[in-house]
Structures are given as C-alpha cells and as structure tokens.
C-alpha cells in the first residue's frame, strides 16, 4: 500500500490598501507570474496548493485553491481603502476550514498551511485608525489548539512596521523587511522569492524557507 502524498496549502495574502495604488499593475503582474508558473509546473502545483487573498477595508479571495486550469482568466486586484488586517485573518481562517478538509478528502496528507503576507503598512480598523483588534483573532488562528493553525511568513515594504512583522511571524527569523523600504523594488523581488520557496518546498515535499531573500533582511536581526 502506498504512503499518502504530502501537500501544502499555501495562502498568499496581499495588502491592497490605498497606499498600494501606485503599484497596482505591478501587483497584478506578480499574481499573473505566480499563476503562470504554477499552471505550467505540475511538480509545484501537485504539492503546493495555492490560494491568493487580497485585503484592504474588506478581504476577498482572488484565486481559490481549486484546479488552476479551471480558471479562464485571473481577476485583477484594485487598490484602495485601509489596512484592515482583521478581515484578512477572518477570511484566511474560513478558507483554511474549507480547503484543508477538501485536500484531505482527495487522499493527500495535508501539511500545516502556510500564509505569506505581503504588506506595506500597519494594521488599522475599518475606519483607517491604527488598531490592535486583530490580535485576538490572530492569536486564535495560530494557536496550537486550532488543528489547522498556519505558519505565517510576512514580507514588509514601504511603511510596514518591523515590530508588526516580527509579531506575526510564527517561525523564528522568518519575517522579511525590504532593505531600502522601496515598494517598487521590493515587489519585484518578492514574487520570485515566493516561487523559489514553493519550488524548494515541492522538491523536498515540506515547507522550505529561503535562507536569504534578495533585497530583504530578516527582521529579527534588526530588532532586539
């Protein structure tokens, strides 16, 4: 009897708040290149089952964790609104609750999900004021008492808060901050870094994070 094959639920959570408006087309290009690589590389998509979530004042699923080939066209994200991180957490949990049983039912051994967060700011409430309300729900999401608790790997650029990135990283040293803060350069480098991460993970059949990400530093190196 064959052992079950591992699969990794992967969520890419993209901050599309108003401050990202100048980079909207770059974000969409990044999503396209991620999708293109997945659809033309079964060895990655067999293992890494990817879903993309965008969030600003609200959160929505850009790409579901279903058969990639069933998509006729990729939705385009639009930037605007605030950085309501709490909405992203709620949606992420909903999706995990649907996706993990689906993958299990397909006969695969499901690894702990991983969520890559791409953000350029600090969390706010729905009115745009800095807020800590997300922490309660976030703590519950990553708590071991939640069976499908995901790993969270943040990438920050622009005005992203190093402390926030450090706070939400579930793996020691796995919070990345753009070196020069330039969103343009940081965005160009983050998608290849994600793809390399997925490629290395698929090769080893387990989550593999990069030792270094071009253009980024590990937050823990900078914050005591």
């Amino acid at each position: 009897m064959s052992a079950k094959v591992n699969c990794l639920p992967v969520y890419v959570i993209i901050d599309t708040s108003k401050s990202m408006s100048p980079y909207e087309s770059m974000l969409n290009q990044g999503i396209e290149s991620l999708y293109d690589e997945l659809i033309t590389s079964p060895r990655i998509s067999d293992f890494a089952h990817v879903s993309i979530i965008s969030f600003n004042t609200d959160a929505e699923v850009v790409m579901q964790m279903t058969d990639l080939q069933s998509m006729n066209a990729l939705p385009q994200v639009a930037c605007g609104g605030v950085t309501n991180f709490g909405e992203a957490i709620s949606l992420l949990r909903q999706r995990i609750d649907q996706d993990v049983p689906y993958l299990k039912n397909s006969g695969r051994q499901v690894l702990r999900p991983v969520a890559f967060l791409l953000t350029d700011g600090v969390p706010t409430d729905e009115t745009g004021h800095p807020s800590e309300e997300w922490r309660v729900e976030y703590t519950a999401l990553v708590s071991k008492s939640y069976e499908s608790h995901p790993n969270v790997v943040p990438f920050g650029y622009g005005l992203a808060s190093p402390q926030f990135l450090k706070d939400i990283a579930t793996i020691p040293d796995a919070a990345f901050l753009a070196k020069d803060g330039g969103t343009d350069s940081a965005l160009r480098k983050v998608i290849p870094a994600l793809l390399n991460t997925l490629l290395a993970s698929a090769k080893d059949n387990a989550l593999r994070l990069p030792a270094e990400v071009d253009g980024y530093i590990r937050v823990s190196e900078e914050i005591l």
Partner: protein, 423 residues
Amino acid sequence: MNGVWSRPPAGRVMRLNDLGDLGEKVSEGNGESAYVCKLTSHPGWLYKAYRSSGPADSASRLDRLIGLPGQMSLADKSLVDARTSWPAARIVDSANRTTGVLVPLAPEEYKFEWTLPGGRSRHKFLDVDVLALSEMKQRQMGLPPQSLAERIAVCASIAAMADLLERHRLVYLDWSYANLFWRPADHSAYLIDLDGASFGPRPQIQSPQWEDPHFPLGTTAGNDSDRYRVALLITRCLTGTRVYVAEARTKLSELRTLSAEVEHLAELLILTLTTAASSRPTIATMRAALDVADGTSAAGQTVPLGGVREWKSVHDRGSTRANPPVTAPRVTTPPRRATTPAPPKPAPAAASTTGFPPQPPSVTASGDAVRSSSAINGTGRTVQRASSPQSPVTPSSSASGVAMMVMLTLIVIVIVIVILAIL
C-alpha cells in the same frame, strides 16, 4: 547560440573575474547551488555558483567530470554536446577556490510557447514534468497531447543519455521531473544539472516521490539506484501517472496488451521497479527495449491512458466528440530517436492554442473499449495486439475476413455432405 561542452569560451578552469557581468538569475537556492545566472559576456552559457561550502570533493571530481567527454567516442561526444548541459569549465576565485561551474544553456528549441488564460503567452523550457501527464491534462494545458509512440520516443532519448552515463561509470541519482527538457517536434530530451554526477557510488540524495526502496536516504547509492529512478521516470512518462509508484505500475501492466515490443518494455520496467537491486536490468537493456518499441510502435495510435477514450473538445466546450480521439491534432510522424545531433527542425505549431477549458474534459464510461486479437509475430510467438473497436477496417483485415467466410462456408458444406451421406 547555445554553448556546448566541446566549445568552451576559454579553458577548462576559468577565473570568476573572466566571466564578465553576471546577468539574469535563472534560479536561486536550488540544491547545492547558491544561484544560476546567464552570462552576458558569454551568450549561451550559465554560471552555476555553489553555496560557500560547496561539494566536498569538488575540484578533483569536477575536473575529471569536465575532462571525461574528451575521452569519449565521437558518437558519445556528439550526444554530450547536443543533449546535455555537461559542465565545460570549473570556475575559481583569486585564491583558486572552486566557486562554481560553467554550463551550457539549453538550446532555445527546448522552449515552448504556452498559451495562458486571457490570451497571455509564456515561452519557457518544457520539462518532462509535463510529459508525465495524461493526454487529457496535456490537452487542457495547451500542450500537444502525446501518444504512447511519442512518449516512447522521448523516453528512448532519455535512456540514451542515462546509458551514456552508466557506460562511463557515472552515478547521477538526480533523475526527476525538473532535470530533463524535451521537444515535441523531434521527441528528443536534454539533460541538465550534471555537475553533481560522481564516479562511483555516493550518499543517496533526498528526492521525495523518487525514493528507491533499496537505497533510502542515508545509504550509499550507485548505478543500481540510477536504474530504478530511470525506470520510474520512464514509467511515469509512458503512463502519464504521477506520484504513486503502484498506480504507475498498474498502468504499465495495461500497456502490455498493445504489442510484443511494448509488452517486453513494460515487463522490463516492472522488473526494474520490483526486483532486488542487484538484479535490476542495466540501462543499456532498457534502452534497447525502448529502441525496439520506438521502431515498431504505431505512431499516432491512440492509447487509452487512464482509460480515457472520449474527450470534450477544447474548441467547443459544449460538445462531446462522438468518436474516439484520432491522430489528426497531434504529431503523426513516426517519432525518431535522435541520439546523434540532428539539424534543428522548425517547431510545429502547438496543437491547441485555445487556452483553458472551464471544466476538465468529460470521461465516458467506454474506457475499457480496447479489444485484443491474437497474432503471430515474426518469431512464431503468439502476441496480443490491441485495436480500437471503431478503428477503420484495413485491407489486410478485410482480406482475412473474406478468407474466414470462405472457410466457414466450406466447413458447413462438408458437414452437410457428411450428414447427407449418413442419411
């Protein structure tokens, strides 16, 4: 212009500074390499930079590996140039420490123009990752669906390279979906990442989905393990069945009814996957079986991989074909294995450029519709040959039908005469 082993830009050991500008990175953090980048000063060449530690025995082993094609026959050297990214030079820093290797960039002919949702296109190397898929999946992805004959031709090309390595006592171990490109146009394959090959056994490498049951991680593996992995790769490419070895073996068993040659090939592969490590057939044996099957399997014959016999057209999503798939949309030229370099041929247009259907093609319940009939092969052995129930009647089958009718009529007449005589 792509680089080849026999025409290095300089000597077999080069200074890092002499490489000029390091251009676009094509991969990063993969295995023992820190990154691989194109060299703008040396078009057609890649610099593969090792992580700081580097392979333990890198200098002496690499020099021997880099020099090996110089001792090969002309035929083998041609194969090295045409079908492999054999490392051409060792790269050292100012302190003479090995920093990486210079390898040829794979020829552009191994790239494929994909049509993606929204009409976008992407030009990228076609690896065997997408050969090891069912015809249905290939069609969905906008690839020319590969018949069994075409798959056999590509696998024969893979086996030719594996055979070359085995004959020169090189252990590769890294057989996987990522390290081989292929061309639908001439069914040739191209092997990359050869710089890790060793002279003789070495510690087994981690390769999930490709685990050799007799040589797990932590053991020392040699050509026996290469034989297993090559057989597994070929099995997956022939059957379009990924991941589970047992499932791929079952599909392989189903192919055995097609012809004596395919039966022999399938049995050889199953033996390699199941027997004791020391009893695994050599890659030369596997190659010979593929060559025979390549020469005799009917090109373009639709083989029901995965039991699929009917398809929803990707051109007309609302209709289902009334007939089984025919050979028209795919390459029908008998695939030829090209172990010696052939002049580049113009790539045919992709069979399907319509993008992606919203739903997977439907599968009908007629997946078992393969009938067998007995035939005598050249050695007098009775073999099973498959034919589609809807296949057109050929002149020879028509003639044999008439002969059968005449025989039956004569038998009936004789019986009637005998009965009348008795009465």
